[in-house]
Symmetry: C2
């Protein structure tokens, strides 16, 4: 593979790489970038919770006034009908203030999204215009104090009273409080409340009901109890709170009833007979929230890396041998190791995220247009959303942390943004689905081959599932397999072979996925033996839980590499392709290096090759070092949005001054 020298990377290269990273919605990204007011959507970090919330509230009004909300809503109610665009424009807010971003996500993505996905046409017409223009501030009340991951077990009830035609909402215990609800503590007038629906003395499973919680002038309504969640590690501009309901009555028409409705006489009906299936269909319709969080994580990682790489290029420390000139810290291998494999991973995550957004857009656009979406495709979307969100959010946590450490004391000052980025994004790994639970969902999809009964995302649902299903055939393999076959030209894995050979890298990841999955199925199979006790079933499942998580990760690593390869294929600029190829090598090889224990343990690589991989990661760090700035520039974050003084010239100015001073003494 040829090595582009630094002169090979021109502004045109950067532009071509940016186009690749921007993906299908590149024009929308440019539209958002052109908004110079966007840089001012930030809040003094020393603001207390109440004034931070107030500032975010005002900025949200501004965003609404400027039409930021319209992207994802139906054209019929004044939206743009651009579902992918709504996710992308949301992602761009990560460069402004993450509280503002999450606040907008609550209003337009979760609250508005619930009405859009679960409501009928009349409800759309009645509520969505107010959602978009913020005249109806709302919140999304799903999670309960006692039930975060296991949403199907929520304990809040809505009981239909046929005598009055009303639903009566109740919070039976403290565990059943709706908790961490963004918008609840201060702004929301209405909540989309997820309840167990009862009518005619029967339970019909989880449904969502619109419940007014505050009057137009902000007074909490009778029967509604709101407790502030108070100060949080981050996202303090979002007013999270706890909602309880005590005999609160709303008209029957407030039930979001696309998937299940109650007639005036209390008769329940639904187009989906199985309660379980209905539940997962509803959850599946809400997948956009998870995709949005994933995008935000990628955006935050890109911003942190932009700051850390720029500082690493300006900062110098320790004089070079035989010289008075100090060495630029990014020239140290240890510093490159801290930043560059993570940067390659952000590229990989962005490409995977772009594919996820496209998939979401295509599936949901088809459905909104009344078209038919193959159930398998819907399940794939859900699985990919779950898995991508887990990878991107964990990546954001790890890489922003690495960036903070790489910037030392400067990284700890709030003016340089890294600390707040870390704190604000920290909750991403556990909200919109706890990552560990999400990986189990992915693994289950792989085991079941996206079978019809797929969907119950709890861990023990998996046990039952495994007990019920035929496990002899593993799911159809992913596209990685096809890629592996397409790329496979030479026999893989010989020591003399180039570790930068893409087909070898792909084959290695594909092998790991296949082997891990096969082993998992073998370990879980005894759980379906006849007469096995529930305790033993649990023990089998639990003993293999780390294997299950590994299987999910192996699968996802493959999907991500696949997306990276496709993005390179789609790029037509030769120097951009060459640069992206190296970044992809660094991504793939550092991934393999990280898990070299597994590859060695399973005879997939030799000791010699394992050492060669480490050497090659070091070599790629050195090769990409001259292009580090180009690589972060290609994220296309407008200069005015970056904000951190260490990334915008302060360090360089100081270095220049110190050098001039030294010269004046000499």
């Amino acid at each position: 593979m040829s090595t582009p020298s630094s002169t090979d990377v021109t502004p045109a290269t950067v532009a071509a790489v940016q186009l690749a990273l921007d993906g299908r919605w590149h024009a929308l990204r440019d539209e958002v970038r052109a908004r110079d007011d966007f840089a001012h959507l930030r809040v003094d970090p020393d603001t207390g919770v109440e004034s931070y919330r107030a500032a975010v509230g005002e900025m949200l009004v501004r965003l609404a006034d400027e039409g930021h909300a319209v992207h994802g809503f139906p054209v019929a109610v004044g939206g743009r009908g651009d579902i992918g665009g709504s996710v992308v424009s949301f992602e761009m807010l990560a460069y402004a203030d993450l509280s503002l971003q999450v606040k907008s996500g609550v209003q337009w993505g979760l609250f508005g999204g619930a009405i859009q996905a679960l409501g009928n046409a009349e409800q759309h017409a009645r509520y969505l215009p107010g959602v978009m223009d913020l005249s109806l501030p709302g919140c999304f009340a799903m999670t309960e104090t006692g039930h975060g991951s296991d949403v199907q077990s929520v304990h809040t009830t809505a009981t239909y009273d046929a005598a009055t035609g009303e639903l009566v909402i109740d919070t039976p215990t403290e565990s059943a409080r709706k908790d961490y609800i963004g918008g609840a503590a201060r702004d929301a007038r209405m909540a989309a409340v997820f309840v167990q629906l009862y009518s005619g003395g029967e339970r019909h499973g989880v449904h969502a009901v619109l419940v007014p919680v505050r009057s137009d002038d902000g007074e909490v309504l009778p029967g509604v109890e709101i407790v502030d969640d108070g100060h949080k590690e981050g996202l303090n501009g979002v007013d999270n709170g706890r909602l309880s309901f005590h005999g609160v009555r709303v008209p029957r028409e407030n039930l979001l009833d696309r998937y299940g409705t109650v007639a005036e006489d209390g008769t329940y009906s639904s187009s989906i007979e199985s309660e379980n299936r209905r539940f997962f269909t509803m959850l599946g319709a809400l997948v956009r929230g998870r995709v949005s969080v994933s995008g935000s994580a990628v955006g935050a990682a890109a911003l942190a890396q932009t700051i850390a790489v720029r500082y690493g290029e300006a900062r110098r420390q320790f004089a070079a041998p035989g010289s008075d000139e100090e060495i630029t810290v990014l020239d140290y291998l240890a510093h490159q190791r801290k930043l560059l494999p993570g940067l390659a991973r952000t590229y990989a995550m962005r490409f995977a995220q772009n594919e996820l957004v496209e998939m979401l857009h295509d599936v949901q656009t088809t459905r909104e247009a009344g078209g038919d979406v193959d159930e398998k495709r819907q399940r794939e979307l859900e699985s990919r959303a779950a898995g991508t969100k887990a990878l991107t959010t964990w990546h954001a946590t790890a890489t922003i942390q690495a960036c903070r450490e790489a910037c030392g004391g400067q990284g700890y000052l709030s003016e340089n943004r890294l600390g707040q980025l870390r704190a604000d994004t920290d909750v991403f790994t556990t909200f919109e689905g706890d990552n560990t639970v999400l990986l189990q969902l992915v693994a289950k999809g792989l085991i079941s081959g996206y079978a019809d009964d797929f969907g119950h995302l709890d861990t023990l649902g998996t046990v039952r599932f495994v007990a019920d299903q035929v496990l002899d055939t593993v799911a159809e393999r992913t596209s990685l397999r096809q890629l592996a076959e397409r790329l496979r030209a030479v026999a893989p894995g010989r020591d003399e072979e180039d570790v930068r050979d893409r087909s070898w890298q792909v084959k290695l990841l594909d092998d790991r996925e296949e082997h891990t999955l096969d082993g998992l199925v073998r370990r879980l199979r005894p759980a379906r033996d006849k007469g096995i006790s529930p305790e033993r079933q649990f023990a089998i499942f639990n003993g293999a839980q780390d294997h299950l998580l590994r299987a999910a990760r192996s699968h996802l690593d493959g999907l991500v590499l696949d997306a990276f390869v496709r993005a390179i294929d789609a790029c037509t600029d030769p120097s951009a392709r060459a640069l992206l190829g190296k970044v992809c090598d660094l991504y793939a090889l550092s991934l393999i290096e990280e898990d070299k224990g597994w590859f060695l343990e399973h005879g997939r690589i030799s000791a010699t090759r394992s050492k060669a991989i480490t050497a090659e990661v070091n070599r790629l760090c050195l090769e990409l070092r001259p292009h580090a700035r180009a690589l972060v520039d290609a994220f296309g974050i407008p200069e005015a949005w970056i904000g951190a003084p260490i990334a915008t010239g302060a360090e360089q100015r100081r270095q220049d001054e110190a050098r001039a001073h030294a010269a004046s003494l000499a």
Copy 2:
């Protein structure tokens, strides 16, 4: 190895384990635990920077009034002369508020410590009483904006003016500002300023000078410029700021002159001829700060784990198969994997920290008593302080993060403390020495065998050093080697052997250390070839930088295991020994598992054995699960200090209520 059933772990066991963890200063720990007012030393997290600083200022006065400061200072000036005790009592403050802890560390550890370590007896008598009773609030001005890690290159100057008998302090450029200086922004009246000392037209290297910065009524003095560092990611109760000096004059007597002094006529003299050696002797005298940060990291990790384990024992999620009862989250293997190996590591870190504090105490007590301290012993202390601090602070960052994720949304609420613990401790990995730089210091000590010229901690000092020294003999091996030899009874590494065999674990870590170090020396040796260019020298060093860091870590892992084994040996309670043995197994095996790629690559373990290690880590997690609460109880954090509602009964109460409600419906 016998498995203690849960009934084997009695309150007496917990007490015995606590005694082992408490170490030599257990009585002092109990003395601090008995202070019930200690629980109230915390600040509302929604407090703005200024009021947080004010609150911390008041709490510090209270600590001073109660004699918290006296431990480490000489008896001659009213202290207790208990150096180890000063570190231990500092560590205990981690359970209160970390801003308060760091603020106390600035005043008594850094500012007071500089006067104590670098000043003469007259200076002790003059300043230390005011340091202890807070009538002289000070700060420690070493780090500059442009020089964090490379302290030897500070640019601030102190020029002796023989005409007036004064030292003139100057900040020549913005890079030379003293930065991140705790106490500078608000409270400090005096600064211990690290400067390049000039007299008679010559530079004499780095020295410390006491410079008044504010008047008694808090006005900034003429020629002193103070800029607030503003809001930070954490530790916002500490008033960090930037100090610049413009022709500030102080009497000659303000030079802290134990290691170098200027006579009235400007003649410079020092008991240490080499400037380099003098500098590192001074730095070495200040090692207590690093030891203290390390202790604080261990305390913060222990507190986070106490919270997460208690919540994990109360929290239930997802019904068990064939049951309505939900499963306690700590019963899931994935949850155990998140928390228990980290808990074992905190045990290991505490034992290593205890040994470090003893070593510090013994070395410095001997020296303060006028006794002779072997230079090699001093170097070992510095190396161990650097390495232990790197390990403990990275561990704190990782494990508090894991605890936050394990507590989900609850972990994100400030009332549950984990977010603030993370944010407050984050800077520990880069202050008091950047961890990556510290590991290089450790590695260099290993290569040079603590040779006389040891000490220059910059990375390129290493290059020069390597070029100058004979590298054919690696340093004497650590005590791990002796332990390995003592324990070595059977041939190591056979697959049928018990992976819980301590001698095998020790041998494995010892082998890795030896092999890594030997390889490093081979890689660096060409740097001392005659006629080699500086560029090539740097390239050789830089290309091996990851190897260098690995060598340091390998060495330190051995020291830590060694400390753990010694702590078990010293424990006389049989059930405590058995429990500690399992925790040590989990520590050692999860460490080996984490680096199994290396052990496989180098033929130290077979693939079969590698898989057996993973299985054994899982088994140990299941075996230790019933004792998780006992293990965190043994940290001995008083109930009133824990503070987090999720750890002090709130979740259990909710579970009980929900269960009673379900029963009332049935």
